[in-house]
Amino acid sequence: MSRWLLRRLVDAVVTFLLVAVLVFVLMRLAPGDPLDRLTEDRPMAPAEQARLRTLFGLDQPLGTQFVRFAEAAVRGDFGASIEYYPTRVTDLVTSRLGPSLLLGFTVLLVNLIGGVWLGVLQARRRGSRLDRWLTRLSLAGYAAPSFWLGWMLVSLFAIKWRLLPAAQMTDPLLPPDAGWLSRAADVGAHLILPAVTLSIVSLAATMRYQRSAMLEVLRLDFVFAARARGLSERRVIWRHAWRNALFPILTLLGLWLPILVTGAVFVEQVFNWPGLGSLTAGAVMTRDYPVLMATALLVAAAVLISGILTDLAHRWLDPRTRDG
């Protein structure tokens, strides 16, 4: 077990280093340059440009640039953003991480509870009218582009009916002396539309996976045997059947965890949500190398860590893999 974990950790570290090198090199090979954008609409003297290049270390050869980056990154310093100079990249990322996590966890919770429950319900009533309608609705949600769905919800709930805020995470007109309760209510109201949008487009996957996993388990002998020993239907479904049908959901969860951290680019843009997704999208447009590097590494770390966590959970939940 510990040997297995050690090997997984070593693998993860090696992968992480490879990703770091690749992203660093590819980013600089890609066309475009952070200074291009700065000089786009206002001509700049060549001497001034050279000074900026030196400031950001862009005049150095690629190898030197990487070594400088790595030396600083190991100490937790990712330099200053080019776009938001002189804001430090770490400050920028940490301020955006909270909103992304808030949105991500809300969606994850809705998704897990709702998707699992609906998927199990569908499997139990396979072929019924309810099953067919839930399939249609969930697939319609899955097929809807998130930015379009976001706009539609905004135009209905925010513009037409004026029930919910259209964008941002907080109301700028909220008095600065407002209590924590009204602040939380304010954030909650702003959270509803982006969370609903993301939940609708992602719920179908959980439901479909859960439905088919459950259907497969429900026809196994031990479910029948559980019923034959006089257990309640709830116990048969959840303790016996679902306990064996949660592994695909666990895998799906592992694929989602990174999105929690990285944020949802489209939805964050539509709702002007101050998360990492919109920060990354902006950094791509402006070729803000330090910000891009930090977010790319954050994604890589999230993917690798969630992979290990998923495997650990799998081993913990399935006794057959424990002895292997």
Binding site: A225, A228, R229, L231, H240, R243, P319, D323
Partner: protein, 325 residues
């Protein structure tokens, strides 16, 4: 004394595109307290569905047809729902399955699965349930029961798993234990052990046992009475010794002849020509007549009545010169 279980005109039907199929078609029998009865038949004869019907566990989309009756101690099982039905399942009637490899939940410990069967039928504290679980595992001959309770099914051999399944079936203190081919999936050496175990437990608890099997060899010496099933119906019932000595129905005779014997001259094993007919279109008259080499005039056209063929022995065959019981 009224019998423990009375099954009357049990019919199980499945809707099919070609018309309804009736794999169990008019089965009637009774089992007394403490009696050991065998239900014997080929695959497809309807014996497994008959025993599942006792617990109302007919798989979808099958239904028990109206007009059927299953009475347990005078209570009509077919009119029970919810709690009352669950009290029968595992409580009054315990069920042992054919394949212990697939009948235990792989992610729950065997102790947990026995314990939940115990607490499903009796209110008791955690400690009591735990003690009861270990006592049950001990009763079915599992060594180190306290330790084995924490094992997962994949850590146990097939024989031990079937013992666990028997412990689960006993957890509700049933009056009737239904064992559906309990040894078919096991090694030959383990088969005898499991059958002996079932015998010992039955004798100790004085519960009735309904043993379902396709193997007449399993039946001899272990049951009081044998019912032979063919094409959805019981066609002969007799005390076990009588059935082996003087089978009355040509199907039973053929079944016995197809069994290898250790004594007597070694000859070719006889097999019965043809196969069990299709339940969507049972043959008219006697259902065995297309495969019977002794058929006479009425066999194809008229359903044979029950006839007494010997002490405690009855069969449905036109060849028997007896009076209707």
């Amino acid at each position: 004394m009224t019998p423990l279980l009375t099954v009357d005109n049990l019919r199980v039907t499945f809707p099919r595109a070609a018309g309804p199929s009736t794999p169990v078609d008019g089965v009637s029998f009774a089992i007394d307290r403490g009696e050991r009865v065998a239900l014997v038949g080929e695959s497809g004869s309807g014996k497994s569905l008959t025993c599942l019907a006792l617990l109302r566990l007919i798989p979808n989309p099958g239904v028990i047809a109206p007009g059927s009756s299953i009475r347990l101690d005078g209570t009509e099982v077919l009119s029970l729902e919810g709690e009352a039905l669950r009290a029968i399942r595992g409580g009054r009637i315990g069920l042992v399955f054919q394949d212990p490899m697939t009948s235990l939940n792989p992610v729950l410990t065997v102790g947990y699965q026995v314990r939940e069967a115990v607490t499903a039928h009796r209110n008791m504290s955690r400690a009591e349930a735990r003690d009861r679980t270990i006592a049950l595992l001990d009763e079915v001959g599992i060594p180190d029961p306290a330790e084995r309770a924490d094992a997962y099914p994949h850590q146990l051999s097939g024989g031990l798993r079937q013992r666990v399944m028997i412990a689960i079936a006993l957890a509700g203190e049933p009056d009737l234990l239904v064992a559906d081919e309990p040894t078919t999936a096991l090694d030959v050496t383990i088969q005898a052990q499991i059958l002996e175990l079932l015998d010992r437990i039955r004798a100790r608890r004085n519960m009735a046992v309904l043993l379902i099997t396709h193997d007449l060899g399993v039946v001899a010496g272990r049951t009081d009475r044998v019912m032979v099933m063919y094409a959805g119906q019981i066609i002969e019932t007799a005390p076990t010794a009588r059935l082996f000595a003087a089978p009355a129905h040509p199907y039973t005779q053929a079944l016995l002849q197809s069994m290898p014997r250790l004594t007597g001259p070694v000859g070719r094993l006889v097999s019965i020509g043809g196969s069990v007919p299709d339940p969507t279109a049972w043959p008219t008259g006697c259902r065995f007549h297309p495969r019977c080499d002794r058929r006479i005039t009425p066999c194809a056209g008229e359903v044979p009545p029950w006839r007494a063929a010997g002490p405690g022995q009855e069969a449905r065959c036109w060849l028997i010169e007896g009076v209707a019981p």
